[in-house]
């Protein structure tokens, strides 16, 4: 159990590290959010579960924590993305398409 927990904590920290690297390397807000959300969700998930395995009395609580993280993490990044888009922060210039923007323009016209 303890070994499994340690492996999970290690995997979690690797994903958290990759997530931060993604935030550092990605070119614009939206791509940064992509890297941020996914990597931190699985990273935190695996880390918390690892702690639960290492200390059996935390296991149930860690599962509740995981549920809360899975529920709230995507909502917060969605909200940040929405707010950035409304504030008019542009997509990086390599972007191929922006349907949402076309829609806004049509409504204004």
């Amino acid at each position: 159990m303890v070994v499994v927990g340690k492996i999970l904590v290690l995997i979690g920290s690797i994903f958290l590290f990759l997530g931060s690297l993604g935030i550092f390397r990605m070119p614009d807000v939206y791509n940064r959010l992509q890297a941020g959300t996914k990597a931190t969700t699985l990273g935190a998930l695996s880390l918390i579960l690892g702690v639960g395995f290492m200390n059996g009395s935390f296991l149930v609580k860690s599962i509740v924590l995981i549920i809360f993280i899975v529920l709230t993490n995507p909502i917060s990044s969605s909200t940040i993305a929405r707010a950035s888009h409304k504030a008019g922060i542009p997509l990086v210039k390599e972007s191929v398409v922006d349907v949402c923007k076309d829609n806004v323009r049509k409504e204004e016209a």
Binding site: M26, Q34, L42
Partner: protein, 165 residues
């Protein structure tokens, strides 16, 4: 009471959360839990309407775990996908915002769908307007609505239809 069903599910969710968090059936914990449950249920009664969309049929015993499995698989794939993009020196991204149509009507169903999309490979929900979800896609494979819908939301929607309205 028109949303009685939603209220019952709301109370069950609250009670379960409390029981799992305290992890004990002692007299004191149950008393405090019961009191706070009543308080929270009164304060947020209006929001319990949201849970009405959940279907309660024998089928959900099969489809809840199925949805969880699909979701977990997609989450792990998503992580390896994004991680591999991040580590590669060339940073292979091809981003854009696409629209996806959904046939789900209820706010809760759309919330679950939008959240699931956010946590899966290269997609992030930016906005929801009526039956259209605007999604930032890190590697755009199809620019029009049908293609995007097929690639992104079909796999979730199929199962979600079984568990929510």
């Amino acid at each position: 009471m028109k949303n009685f069903k939603g209220f019952i599910i709301f109370v069950i969710v609250l009670a379960l959360t409390w029981l799992l968090l305290t992890g004990s059936l002692g007299k004191d914990e149950l008393l405090i839990g019961g009191l706070s449950l009543v308080l929270v249920a009164i304060l947020f009664f209006g929001y319990s309407d949201l849970y009405r969309a959940l279907k309660i049929t024998p089928k959900i015993i099969l489809f809840y775990p199925l949805y969880l499995l699909v979701f977990l698989k997609e989450l792990i794939v998503a992580n390896f996908d994004v991680a591999s993009r991040v580590v590669r020196p060339s940073l292979p991204i091809n981003p854009g915002i696409v629209a996806v149509k959904t046939s789900l009507k209820d706010p809760l169903s759309k919330l679950i769908l939008a959240n699931s999309i956010t946590l899966t490979p290269g997609t992030l929900t930016v906005d929801v307007k009526d039956d259209t979800l605007f999604i930032h896609w890190i590697d755009v494979k199809g620019k029009d609505v049908e293609e995007a819908t097929k690639e992104i939301s079909r796999k979730f929607e199929r199962i979600l239809k079984e568990i929510v309205k």
